[in-house]
Symmetry: C3
Subunit: 147 residues, 3 copies
Protein backbone atom coordinates (compact mmCIF):
# COMPACT_ATOMS: atom_id res chain seq x y z
CA UNK A 1 0.00 0.00 0.00
CA UNK A 2 1.46 3.31 -1.10
CA UNK A 3 0.87 5.93 1.62
CA UNK A 4 1.25 9.67 1.10
CA UNK A 5 1.74 11.55 4.37
CA UNK A 6 1.39 15.29 4.75
CA UNK A 7 1.37 17.66 7.71
CA UNK A 8 -2.07 18.88 8.78
CA UNK A 9 -2.50 22.56 9.57
CA UNK A 10 -6.02 23.79 8.79
CA UNK A 11 -9.68 23.53 9.72
CA UNK A 12 -11.83 25.69 7.42
CA UNK A 13 -15.59 26.12 7.75
CA UNK A 14 -18.33 27.57 5.52
CA UNK A 15 -22.11 27.53 5.29
CA UNK A 16 -23.85 26.50 2.09
CA UNK A 17 -27.48 27.60 1.65
CA UNK A 18 -29.68 25.68 -0.80
CA UNK A 19 -33.25 26.54 -1.81
CA UNK A 20 -35.12 23.37 -2.69
CA UNK A 21 -38.28 23.16 -4.76
CA UNK A 22 -39.96 20.04 -3.41
CA UNK A 23 -38.96 16.38 -3.13
CA UNK A 24 -35.90 15.34 -5.13
CA UNK A 25 -32.12 15.43 -5.64
CA UNK A 26 -30.27 18.78 -5.92
CA UNK A 27 -26.65 18.56 -7.04
CA UNK A 28 -24.10 20.58 -5.07
CA UNK A 29 -20.87 19.09 -6.47
CA UNK A 30 -19.89 22.43 -8.03
CA UNK A 31 -20.42 24.30 -4.76
CA UNK A 32 -18.25 21.82 -2.86
CA UNK A 33 -15.52 22.06 -5.52
CA UNK A 34 -15.63 25.82 -5.17
CA UNK A 35 -15.24 25.49 -1.40
CA UNK A 36 -12.17 23.26 -1.91
CA UNK A 37 -10.64 25.84 -4.24
CA UNK A 38 -11.49 28.91 -2.14
CA UNK A 39 -10.24 27.24 1.07
CA UNK A 40 -6.91 26.57 -0.68
CA UNK A 41 -7.26 22.87 0.23
CA UNK A 42 -4.40 20.57 -0.75
CA UNK A 43 -4.52 17.16 0.96
CA UNK A 44 -7.24 16.24 3.44
CA UNK A 45 -10.98 15.85 3.33
CA UNK A 46 -14.22 17.79 3.10
CA UNK A 47 -16.90 17.05 5.68
CA UNK A 48 -20.53 17.91 4.97
CA UNK A 49 -23.29 18.25 7.55
CA UNK A 50 -27.02 18.85 6.92
CA UNK A 51 -28.64 20.90 9.70
CA UNK A 52 -32.14 19.45 9.18
CA UNK A 53 -34.19 16.35 9.99
CA UNK A 54 -36.17 16.06 6.73
CA UNK A 55 -33.41 16.55 4.11
CA UNK A 56 -30.22 14.55 3.70
CA UNK A 57 -26.86 14.22 1.91
CA UNK A 58 -26.22 11.46 -0.64
CA UNK A 59 -23.39 10.64 -3.06
CA UNK A 60 -24.86 9.00 -6.13
CA UNK A 61 -24.68 8.59 -9.90
CA UNK A 62 -24.58 11.85 -11.81
CA UNK A 63 -24.94 10.47 -15.36
CA UNK A 64 -28.48 9.25 -15.96
CA UNK A 65 -31.22 11.42 -14.44
CA UNK A 66 -33.47 8.35 -14.25
CA UNK A 67 -31.33 7.01 -11.42
CA UNK A 68 -32.32 9.88 -9.13
CA UNK A 69 -35.97 9.51 -10.15
CA UNK A 70 -35.83 5.83 -9.17
CA UNK A 71 -34.02 6.63 -5.91
CA UNK A 72 -36.90 8.95 -4.96
CA UNK A 73 -39.37 6.19 -5.88
CA UNK A 74 -37.44 3.66 -3.80
CA UNK A 75 -37.48 5.93 -0.74
CA UNK A 76 -41.23 6.51 -1.12
CA UNK A 77 -41.79 2.75 -1.22
CA UNK A 78 -39.68 2.31 1.94
CA UNK A 79 -41.47 5.14 3.77
CA UNK A 80 -44.94 5.64 2.30
CA UNK A 81 -47.11 8.59 3.33
CA UNK A 82 -50.30 6.65 4.09
CA UNK A 83 -48.92 4.22 6.64
CA UNK A 84 -50.65 5.15 9.87
CA UNK A 85 -47.88 7.31 11.38
CA UNK A 86 -48.53 8.74 14.85
CA UNK A 87 -46.76 12.02 14.04
CA UNK A 88 -48.97 13.66 11.38
CA UNK A 89 -49.55 17.22 12.57
CA UNK A 90 -47.07 18.67 10.04
CA UNK A 91 -48.66 16.98 7.02
CA UNK A 92 -48.57 13.52 5.40
CA UNK A 93 -45.09 14.07 3.91
CA UNK A 94 -43.43 14.98 7.23
CA UNK A 95 -42.97 11.64 8.97
CA UNK A 96 -41.86 9.89 5.73
CA UNK A 97 -39.31 12.72 5.33
CA UNK A 98 -37.86 11.99 8.79
CA UNK A 99 -37.60 8.27 7.97
CA UNK A 100 -35.92 8.94 4.60
CA UNK A 101 -33.45 11.28 6.31
CA UNK A 102 -32.63 8.63 8.93
CA UNK A 103 -32.00 6.02 6.20
CA UNK A 104 -29.78 8.22 4.03
CA UNK A 105 -27.98 10.35 6.64
CA UNK A 106 -26.97 13.95 7.35
CA UNK A 107 -23.18 13.52 7.69
CA UNK A 108 -20.52 12.43 5.17
CA UNK A 109 -16.99 13.16 3.96
CA UNK A 110 -15.14 13.20 0.64
CA UNK A 111 -11.33 12.96 0.39
CA UNK A 112 -9.32 15.80 -1.16
CA UNK A 113 -6.16 14.65 -2.94
CA UNK A 114 -3.79 17.21 -4.46
CA UNK A 115 -6.38 20.00 -4.29
CA UNK A 116 -9.09 17.91 -6.00
CA UNK A 117 -12.22 16.20 -4.63
CA UNK A 118 -11.53 12.46 -5.03
CA UNK A 119 -15.02 11.61 -6.29
CA UNK A 120 -15.41 8.51 -8.42
CA UNK A 121 -16.07 8.94 -12.14
CA UNK A 122 -19.86 8.70 -11.82
CA UNK A 123 -20.27 10.28 -8.39
CA UNK A 124 -22.09 13.53 -7.72
CA UNK A 125 -22.91 15.12 -4.35
CA UNK A 126 -26.61 15.71 -3.70
CA UNK A 127 -28.84 17.44 -1.19
CA UNK A 128 -31.98 15.32 -1.04
CA UNK A 129 -35.16 17.17 -0.16
CA UNK A 130 -37.75 14.86 1.36
CA UNK A 131 -40.55 17.41 1.96
CA UNK A 132 -43.16 18.17 -0.71
CA UNK A 133 -42.84 21.98 -0.49
CA UNK A 134 -39.82 24.23 -1.12
CA UNK A 135 -37.45 24.64 1.83
CA UNK A 136 -34.33 26.64 2.67
CA UNK A 137 -31.62 24.16 3.69
CA UNK A 138 -28.26 24.84 5.30
CA UNK A 139 -25.19 22.58 5.01
CA UNK A 140 -21.95 23.09 6.92
CA UNK A 141 -18.83 22.43 4.84
CA UNK A 142 -15.50 21.84 6.55
CA UNK A 143 -12.01 21.13 5.28
CA UNK A 144 -9.52 19.32 7.48
CA UNK A 145 -5.98 18.90 6.18
CA UNK A 146 -3.15 20.92 4.70
CA UNK A 147 -4.06 24.17 3.00
Amino acid sequence: MNITADRIDTIATARLAIETDGEGFYEVTGEVQRFVRDAGANNGLVLMYMRHTSASLVIQENADHDVRTDLVTALTRLAPAAAGWTHDVEGPDDMPAHIKTMLTGVSLHIPVVEATLALGTWQGIYVVEHRARPHAREIILQFVGRA
Copy 2:
Protein backbone atom coordinates in the same frame (compact mmCIF):
# COMPACT_ATOMS: atom_id res chain seq x y z
CA MET B 1 -19.04 31.61 0.17
CA ASN B 2 -17.62 33.02 3.38
CA ILE B 3 -14.87 30.72 4.69
CA THR B 4 -13.44 30.84 8.20
CA ALA B 5 -10.01 29.23 8.45
CA ASP B 6 -8.36 28.26 11.70
CA ARG B 7 -5.21 26.33 12.58
CA ILE B 8 -5.78 22.75 13.72
CA ASP B 9 -3.89 21.51 16.75
CA THR B 10 -5.83 18.87 18.69
CA ILE B 11 -7.26 15.36 18.59
CA ALA B 12 -9.18 14.58 21.79
CA THR B 13 -10.80 11.23 22.58
CA ALA B 14 -13.29 10.02 25.21
CA ARG B 15 -15.53 7.01 25.80
CA LEU B 16 -19.23 7.45 26.46
CA ALA B 17 -21.06 4.56 28.16
CA ILE B 18 -24.85 4.32 27.77
CA GLU B 19 -27.14 1.82 29.47
CA THR B 20 -30.14 1.15 27.26
CA ASP B 21 -33.45 -0.32 28.40
CA GLY B 22 -34.71 -2.07 25.26
CA GLU B 23 -35.51 -0.92 21.73
CA GLY B 24 -35.74 2.83 21.20
CA PHE B 25 -34.02 6.21 20.95
CA TYR B 26 -31.79 7.49 23.80
CA GLU B 27 -30.74 11.12 23.57
CA VAL B 28 -27.06 11.91 24.19
CA THR B 29 -26.95 15.52 22.98
CA GLY B 30 -26.14 16.77 26.49
CA GLU B 31 -23.26 14.31 26.88
CA VAL B 32 -21.76 15.38 23.54
CA GLN B 33 -22.10 19.06 24.47
CA ARG B 34 -20.30 18.32 27.73
CA PHE B 35 -17.50 16.62 25.78
CA VAL B 36 -17.15 19.71 23.56
CA ARG B 37 -16.91 21.93 26.64
CA ASP B 38 -14.56 19.68 28.63
CA ALA B 39 -12.26 19.19 25.62
CA GLY B 40 -12.01 22.97 25.27
CA ALA B 41 -13.10 22.64 21.63
CA ASN B 42 -13.23 25.84 19.57
CA ASN B 43 -13.50 25.21 15.80
CA GLY B 44 -13.59 21.72 14.32
CA LEU B 45 -15.86 18.73 14.57
CA VAL B 46 -16.97 15.95 16.86
CA LEU B 47 -16.86 12.41 15.49
CA MET B 48 -18.98 9.68 17.09
CA TYR B 49 -18.46 5.95 16.69
CA MET B 50 -20.68 3.13 18.04
CA ARG B 51 -18.68 0.01 18.95
CA HIS B 52 -21.58 -2.41 18.36
CA THR B 53 -23.42 -4.17 15.53
CA SER B 54 -26.98 -3.99 16.92
CA ALA B 55 -27.18 -0.35 18.06
CA SER B 56 -26.59 2.78 15.98
CA LEU B 57 -26.20 6.59 15.95
CA VAL B 58 -28.86 8.85 14.47
CA ILE B 59 -29.43 12.62 14.32
CA GLN B 60 -33.16 13.29 14.36
CA GLU B 61 -35.96 15.54 15.54
CA ASN B 62 -35.91 16.29 19.26
CA ALA B 63 -39.26 18.10 19.55
CA ASP B 64 -42.13 15.64 19.20
CA HIS B 65 -41.60 12.28 20.90
CA ASP B 66 -44.01 10.70 18.40
CA VAL B 67 -41.35 11.09 15.70
CA ARG B 68 -39.01 8.66 17.47
CA THR B 69 -41.89 6.24 18.08
CA ASP B 70 -42.67 6.28 14.35
CA LEU B 71 -38.97 5.89 13.44
CA VAL B 72 -38.87 2.69 15.53
CA THR B 73 -42.05 1.49 13.79
CA ALA B 74 -40.56 2.27 10.37
CA LEU B 75 -37.39 0.28 11.13
CA THR B 76 -39.47 -2.68 12.34
CA ARG B 77 -41.43 -2.63 9.10
CA LEU B 78 -38.20 -2.56 7.08
CA ALA B 79 -36.62 -5.39 9.11
CA PRO B 80 -39.38 -7.51 10.66
CA ALA B 81 -38.56 -10.24 13.17
CA ALA B 82 -40.57 -13.06 11.56
CA ALA B 83 -39.00 -13.01 8.13
CA GLY B 84 -37.20 -16.32 7.85
CA TRP B 85 -33.68 -15.13 8.77
CA THR B 86 -30.91 -17.74 8.69
CA HIS B 87 -29.16 -16.23 11.73
CA ASP B 88 -31.60 -16.82 14.62
CA VAL B 89 -29.54 -18.39 17.41
CA GLU B 90 -29.39 -15.13 19.40
CA GLY B 91 -33.18 -14.59 19.40
CA PRO B 92 -35.76 -13.20 16.95
CA ASP B 93 -34.72 -9.57 17.58
CA ASP B 94 -31.03 -10.13 16.78
CA MET B 95 -30.94 -10.29 12.96
CA PRO B 96 -33.41 -7.38 12.60
CA ALA B 97 -31.12 -5.41 14.95
CA HIS B 98 -28.14 -6.00 12.64
CA ILE B 99 -30.17 -4.88 9.61
CA LYS B 100 -31.42 -1.73 11.38
CA THR B 101 -27.84 -0.92 12.42
CA MET B 102 -26.61 -1.34 8.82
CA LEU B 103 -29.35 0.99 7.54
CA THR B 104 -28.79 3.75 10.11
CA GLY B 105 -25.03 3.54 10.67
CA VAL B 106 -22.43 3.56 13.45
CA SER B 107 -20.31 6.56 12.37
CA LEU B 108 -21.15 10.26 12.08
CA HIS B 109 -19.81 13.75 12.74
CA ILE B 110 -21.19 17.10 13.89
CA PRO B 111 -19.40 20.42 13.25
CA VAL B 112 -18.24 22.57 16.16
CA VAL B 113 -18.29 26.31 15.43
CA GLU B 114 -17.01 28.78 18.02
CA ALA B 115 -17.13 26.21 20.82
CA THR B 116 -20.72 25.16 20.03
CA LEU B 117 -22.15 22.04 18.38
CA ALA B 118 -23.65 23.29 15.11
CA LEU B 119 -26.81 21.19 15.36
CA GLY B 120 -29.89 22.43 13.53
CA THR B 121 -32.77 23.87 15.57
CA TRP B 122 -34.69 20.58 15.77
CA GLN B 123 -31.76 18.17 15.79
CA GLY B 124 -30.88 15.89 18.68
CA ILE B 125 -28.21 13.17 18.82
CA TYR B 126 -29.49 9.69 19.61
CA VAL B 127 -28.16 6.25 20.42
CA VAL B 128 -30.65 3.83 18.91
CA GLU B 129 -30.95 0.48 20.66
CA HIS B 130 -32.25 -2.20 18.30
CA ARG B 131 -32.25 -5.16 20.76
CA ALA B 132 -35.28 -5.96 22.93
CA ARG B 133 -33.33 -6.29 26.19
CA PRO B 134 -31.19 -3.73 28.06
CA HIS B 135 -27.59 -3.42 26.86
CA ALA B 136 -24.43 -1.55 27.86
CA ARG B 137 -23.28 0.45 24.80
CA GLU B 138 -19.99 2.26 24.25
CA ILE B 139 -19.49 5.23 21.92
CA ILE B 140 -16.14 6.80 21.11
CA LEU B 141 -16.23 10.60 20.94
CA GLN B 142 -13.43 12.50 19.22
CA PHE B 143 -12.76 16.17 18.63
CA VAL B 144 -10.58 17.24 15.73
CA GLY B 145 -9.77 20.93 15.40
CA ARG B 146 -8.47 23.86 17.42
CA ALA B 147 -8.81 23.61 21.18
Copy 3:
Protein backbone atom coordinates in the same frame (compact mmCIF):
# COMPACT_ATOMS: atom_id res chain seq x y z
CA MET C 1 -15.84 11.83 31.16
CA ASN C 2 -12.14 11.07 30.87
CA ILE C 3 -10.68 12.94 27.87
CA THR C 4 -7.30 12.17 26.31
CA ALA C 5 -5.94 15.08 24.27
CA ASP C 6 -3.09 14.79 21.80
CA ARG C 7 -1.56 17.15 19.27
CA ILE C 8 -2.56 16.51 15.66
CA ASP C 9 0.13 16.57 12.99
CA THR C 10 -0.64 14.21 10.10
CA ILE C 11 -2.97 13.54 7.21
CA ALA C 12 -2.03 10.28 5.43
CA THR C 13 -3.76 8.93 2.32
CA ALA C 14 -3.70 5.59 0.49
CA ARG C 15 -5.79 3.79 -2.15
CA LEU C 16 -7.13 0.31 -1.50
CA ALA C 17 -8.12 -1.77 -4.54
CA ILE C 18 -10.56 -4.66 -4.06
CA GLU C 19 -11.63 -7.18 -6.69
CA THR C 20 -15.14 -8.36 -5.94
CA ASP C 21 -16.74 -11.54 -7.26
CA GLY C 22 -20.43 -10.66 -7.32
CA GLU C 23 -22.95 -9.54 -4.70
CA GLY C 24 -21.88 -9.90 -1.08
CA PHE C 25 -19.68 -8.76 1.82
CA TYR C 26 -15.86 -8.63 1.44
CA GLU C 27 -13.93 -8.09 4.65
CA VAL C 28 -11.13 -5.48 4.58
CA THR C 29 -10.41 -5.18 8.32
CA GLY C 30 -6.89 -6.57 7.85
CA GLU C 31 -6.11 -4.11 5.06
CA VAL C 32 -7.26 -1.17 7.21
CA GLN C 33 -5.20 -2.42 10.17
CA ARG C 34 -2.18 -2.63 7.88
CA PHE C 35 -2.79 0.97 6.77
CA VAL C 36 -2.89 2.09 10.43
CA ARG C 37 0.40 0.32 11.08
CA ASP C 38 2.17 1.47 7.91
CA ALA C 39 1.02 5.08 8.39
CA GLY C 40 2.50 5.00 11.90
CA ALA C 41 -0.86 6.13 13.29
CA ASN C 42 -1.07 6.76 17.04
CA ASN C 43 -4.21 8.68 18.10
CA GLY C 44 -6.80 9.84 15.59
CA LEU C 45 -9.13 8.20 13.14
CA VAL C 46 -9.25 6.38 9.83
CA LEU C 47 -11.69 7.65 7.21
CA MET C 48 -12.84 5.37 4.40
CA TYR C 49 -14.43 6.47 1.15
CA MET C 50 -15.86 4.24 -1.62
CA ARG C 51 -15.43 5.79 -5.09
CA HIS C 52 -18.46 4.02 -6.61
CA THR C 53 -22.26 4.27 -6.74
CA SER C 54 -23.11 0.54 -6.64
CA ALA C 55 -20.84 -0.70 -3.82
CA SER C 56 -20.70 0.53 -0.23
CA LEU C 57 -18.90 0.39 3.14
CA VAL C 58 -20.47 -1.28 6.17
CA ILE C 59 -19.28 -2.13 9.69
CA GLN C 60 -20.99 -5.32 10.81
CA GLU C 61 -20.69 -8.57 12.74
CA ASN C 62 -17.66 -10.65 11.82
CA ALA C 63 -18.51 -13.81 13.82
CA ASP C 64 -21.36 -15.70 12.16
CA HIS C 65 -21.26 -15.78 8.35
CA ASP C 66 -25.06 -16.18 8.32
CA VAL C 67 -25.41 -12.56 9.43
CA ARG C 68 -23.87 -11.29 6.18
CA THR C 69 -26.03 -13.71 4.16
CA ASP C 70 -29.14 -12.31 5.86
CA LEU C 71 -27.94 -8.71 5.37
CA VAL C 72 -27.74 -9.37 1.61
CA THR C 73 -31.23 -10.90 1.72
CA ALA C 74 -32.57 -7.90 3.64
CA LEU C 75 -31.15 -5.45 1.08
CA THR C 76 -32.64 -7.47 -1.78
CA ARG C 77 -36.06 -7.32 -0.10
CA LEU C 78 -35.72 -3.54 0.35
CA ALA C 79 -34.60 -3.01 -3.28
CA PRO C 80 -35.87 -5.88 -5.44
CA ALA C 81 -34.77 -6.23 -9.05
CA ALA C 82 -38.21 -6.67 -10.60
CA ALA C 83 -39.83 -3.49 -9.34
CA GLY C 84 -40.46 -1.44 -12.47
CA TRP C 85 -37.39 0.82 -12.28
CA THR C 86 -37.05 3.48 -14.99
CA HIS C 87 -33.26 3.11 -15.15
CA ASP C 88 -32.72 -0.42 -16.55
CA VAL C 89 -30.25 -0.05 -19.43
CA GLU C 90 -27.35 -1.42 -17.34
CA GLY C 91 -29.18 -4.62 -16.32
CA PRO C 92 -31.77 -5.61 -13.69
CA ASP C 93 -29.21 -5.52 -10.83
CA ASP C 94 -28.02 -1.97 -11.52
CA MET C 95 -30.80 0.21 -10.08
CA PRO C 96 -31.18 -2.01 -6.97
CA ALA C 97 -27.38 -1.64 -6.51
CA HIS C 98 -27.70 2.17 -6.50
CA ILE C 99 -30.52 2.00 -3.93
CA LYS C 100 -28.57 -0.38 -1.67
CA THR C 101 -25.54 1.91 -1.88
CA MET C 102 -27.66 4.93 -0.94
CA LEU C 103 -29.08 3.08 2.08
CA THR C 104 -25.75 1.80 3.40
CA GLY C 105 -23.38 4.63 2.45
CA VAL C 106 -19.95 5.26 0.93
CA SER C 107 -18.30 7.22 3.76
CA LEU C 108 -17.40 6.22 7.34
CA HIS C 109 -14.72 6.55 10.00
CA ILE C 110 -13.20 4.35 12.71
CA PRO C 111 -11.30 5.77 15.71
CA VAL C 112 -7.64 4.89 16.25
CA VAL C 113 -6.62 4.79 19.91
CA GLU C 114 -3.00 4.10 20.88
CA ALA C 115 -2.11 2.80 17.40
CA THR C 116 -5.07 0.39 17.30
CA LEU C 117 -8.37 0.51 15.40
CA ALA C 118 -11.04 0.90 18.10
CA LEU C 119 -13.46 -1.61 16.57
CA GLY C 120 -15.95 -3.30 18.89
CA THR C 121 -15.41 -6.97 19.73
CA TRP C 122 -17.71 -8.27 16.97
CA GLN C 123 -17.12 -5.55 14.39
CA GLY C 124 -15.51 -6.12 11.00
CA ILE C 125 -15.12 -3.65 8.12
CA TYR C 126 -16.72 -4.71 4.85
CA VAL C 127 -16.86 -3.63 1.24
CA VAL C 128 -20.35 -4.55 0.06
CA GLU C 129 -20.65 -5.36 -3.64
CA HIS C 130 -24.21 -4.80 -4.89
CA ARG C 131 -23.68 -5.76 -8.56
CA ALA C 132 -24.09 -9.36 -9.75
CA ARG C 133 -20.81 -9.51 -11.70
CA PRO C 134 -17.21 -9.07 -10.48
CA HIS C 135 -16.00 -5.47 -10.21
CA ALA C 136 -12.77 -3.64 -9.41
CA ARG C 137 -13.51 -1.26 -6.50
CA GLU C 138 -11.35 1.54 -5.11
CA ILE C 139 -11.51 2.85 -1.54
CA ILE C 140 -9.60 5.88 -0.27
CA LEU C 141 -8.16 5.42 3.22
CA GLN C 142 -7.08 8.43 5.25
CA PHE C 143 -5.60 8.85 8.69
CA VAL C 144 -6.05 12.11 10.56
CA GLY C 145 -4.29 12.49 13.90
CA ARG C 146 -0.87 12.13 15.46
CA ALA C 147 1.56 9.82 13.72
